[in-house]
C-alpha cells in the first residue's frame, strides 16, 4: 500500500454540524450541544487516546505556542514590529524578543517592511492576539532565497511522513528549505533550483488530496 492511500483510507470526512458518535472528550474542531459532540469544520475526524478531534482541511493558520513559523514584517513601531504570519491577525515582535539591541525608534534598521524571519510563537492569549520571538533555537532573520506560501492545512503533506517529501525535494534540488507551521516556506539555493523546488511545493499544495503524489513529485524533480 502506498503512503498516500494509507493516509486517506483511515480518515473519515466530516462536515460542520455532523454528530460525532464517541465517548471521548472534545478536542479541537468540534463543539458541544445538548451533551452531544458535533464537528464545527470540514475535516477528518480522529478519535485517539480519549479525545475526539476534527482536523480542518481548510482555513487560515491558527497560531499555537511553540510553533516555528516564517513571518514577514508589515509595519514598524518605535519598539515593536508588526508581522504577517498568515493568521487572522498580524503578530507582534517586541524588541526585547529580538536578538538585537534596538535603540527606541530605530526598529526599521534591524527589520524593515518586507523583511522575513524564522521565528517561534511564544504567546497566544484568549482574545486571539499573539506574539512571536526571535530568541529561540535557530530563529533568525532570513537574508537570501525566497518565500512561497502554501495552505497551512497542507503543511504536513509538504513535509511528508517523517519528512520524506521534503527530503525528496531538498536532495533533488540541492536547496535549503524550512517549512513554517503557518504555511510560509523558505527556499534558498541557486535561482533555477529554487524555481524547481517552488514548483514541487506548489504542486503538493494544489493537489494535496490526490493520490500518487509522491510519484508525481519524483517525476517533476527529474527535470
Amino acid at each position: 500500500m502506498s503512503e498516500e492511500s494509507s493516509v486517506t483510507s483511515n480518515r473519515k470526512l466530516v462536515l460542520p454540524g455532523d454528530l460525532m458518535e464517541t465517548k471521548s472528550k472534545p478536542g479541537k474542531g468540534i463543539f458541544r450541544s445538548e451533551g452531544r459532540i458535533h464537528s464545527s469544520v470540514v475535516g477528518y475526524s480522529n478519535d485517539k487516546s480519549g479525545y475526539i478531534n476534527v482536523n480542518a482541511i481548510a482555513g487560515r493558520y491558527s497560531p499555537k505556542v511553540g510553533d516555528k513559523i516564517i513571518a514577514i514584517c508589515v509595519e514598524t513601531g518605535p519598539s515593536i514590529w508588526r508581522m504577517d504570519i498568515g493568521a487572522s491577525f498580524n503578530s507582534t515582535l517586541h524588541h526585547s524578543e529580538s536578538s538585537w539591541k534596538v535603540p527606541f525608534g530605530d526598529t526599521a534598521r534591524f527589520l524593515a517592511i518586507g523583511d522575513a524571519i524564522w521565528a517561534e510563537i511564544f504567546m497566544v492569549d484568549a482574545a486571539g492576539t499573539h506574539q512571536i520571538s526571535l530568541k529561540k533555537d535557530d530563529c533568525r532573520k532570513l537574508y537570501s532565497g525566497t518565500i512561497v506560501k502554501v495552505n497551512p492545512t497542507n503543511v504536513t503533506r509538504v513535509i511528508g511522513m517523517q519528512g520524506s517529501m521534503i527530503s525528496l525535494i531538498r536532495d533533488n534540488t540541492k536547496t535549503r528549505i524550512q517549512i513554517g507551521q503557518n504555511g510560509y516556506v523558505w527556499i534558498d539555493g541557486e535561482g533555477k533550483d529554487i524555481a524547481l523546488a517552488q514548483e514541487a511545493i506548489e504542486t503538493i499544495d494544489r493537489e494535496a488530496t490526490s493520490e500518487g503524489l509522491t510519484k508525481k513529485i519524483e517525476k517533476l524533480l527529474e527535470k
Binding site: L15, P16, V41, G59, T153, T209
Partner: protein, 240 residues
C-alpha cells in the same frame, strides 16, 4: 407579487416548466471554484447563476465596526448589471442592502463568531444571472463557501422558497411564478435543529396555506442540504 392573475401557471397539477408543485428546479453546486478567496462556491439553480467567495477571519475594517468579544459577518449580495433582462445599475440598491443585512445576521447565528474577537468574516455573493429565488441561491452558495473556507460553524444553512400560484402552494417559484404568483416565502433553516434563521414573506396566504408553505420550504431546504454536502464531499475527495 402581482396577486390574482388570469395566467394559467399550473395545469392538471403540472407547472409551466413541467415541475410538480413540490419539485425543485435543477441545482448544481461546485465548491472551491475561485483561487484567491479563502473559500468559494459556484451554484446554478434553474437558470440562476451565483458565485460566493469568503475571506477571513481577518482584521475588521473599518475599526468602529469591530466587536470586542466576537467576529462580525459582513455579507454582501449584488446582482451583475447583465443578470436581468433590463440592465441593472451597478452597485448596491435598497433591495440588495436589505438582503445583505439579513443574510449577515442569519450567518452570525451559525458561525462560531465568539472564537474570533474583533475579526470580520467577509462573505461576497455575486448573482450573475437571475431568474427568481436568487437570495436563496446566494445564501446556499455562501454557506458552502464558508465551509470551504474552514470557518467553524454549528451547521450549514440551506435556503429555499415556497409560494402560491393559482391558489396552489408550490415549492421554489420560477420567474413567471414569481412575477404573476400570489405569494413568495423564502426560508433558511439550521438542518440539525430545524431553527429558522431567515424568513420573509410577501403576498397573500391563508393560515393553512402558510403552514403548508413552511412544510414545503423546509423539505426544499433539506433537499438542498444534501446537495451542499455532496458538493463538499466531491471537492475534498472523501465520503462523509
Amino acid at each position: 407579487m402581482a396577486g390574482q392573475t388570469d395566467m394559467e401557471l399550473i395545469k392538471n397539477g403540472i407547472r409551466m416548466d413541467g415541475r410538480k408543485p413540490d419539485e425543485l428546479r435543477e441545482v448544481k453546486i461546485v465548491a472551491g471554484v475561485l483561487d484567491n478567496a479563502d473559500g468559494s462556491c459556484y451554484l446554478e439553480w434553474g437558470n440562476n447563476k451565483v458565485y460566493a467567495g469568503v475571506f477571513g477571519p481577518m482584521e475588521c475594517h473599518p475599526r468602529h465596526k469591530q466587536k470586542a468579544d466576537r467576529a462580525i459577518v459582513q455579507a454582501r449580495y449584488t446582482m451583475a448589471p447583465f443578470s436581468v433582462n433590463d440592465r441593472k445599475r451597478p452597485g448596491l440598491d435598497r433591495r440588495s442592502t436589505e438582503i445583505s443585512y439579513i443574510v449577515s445576521q442569519a450567518f452570525e447565528k451559525v458561525v462560531m463568531v465568539e472564537d474570533f474577537p474583533k475579526a470580520s468574516i467577509r462573505v461576497d455573493m455575486q448573482v450573475v444571472e437571475a431568474h427568481a429565488g436568487t437570495r436563496c441561491a446566494a445564501l446556499t452558495a455562501a454557506s458552502v463557501a464558508l465551509a470551504d473556507a474552514g470557518i467553524p460553524m454549528r451547521d450549514m444553512i440551506p435556503s429555499c422558497a415556497a409560494g402560491k400560484v393559482n391558489d396552489v402552494v408550490v415549492l421554489d417559484l420560477n420567474k413567471e411564478e414569481d412575477n404573476y404568483g400570489q405569494a413568495d416565502l423564502p426560508l433558511a433553516i439550521i438542518p440539525s435543529t430545524g431553527e429558522v434563521v431567515l424568513l420573509q414573506l410577501d403576498g397573500h396566504l391563508t393560515p393553512d396555506e402558510f403552514e403548508q408553505a413552511m412544510d414545503l420550504a423546509t423539505s426544499g431546504c433539506m433537499e438542498l442540504y444534501k446537495k451542499m454536502r455532496h458538493a463538499l464531499e466531491n471537492s475534498y475527495g472523501g465520503k462523509a
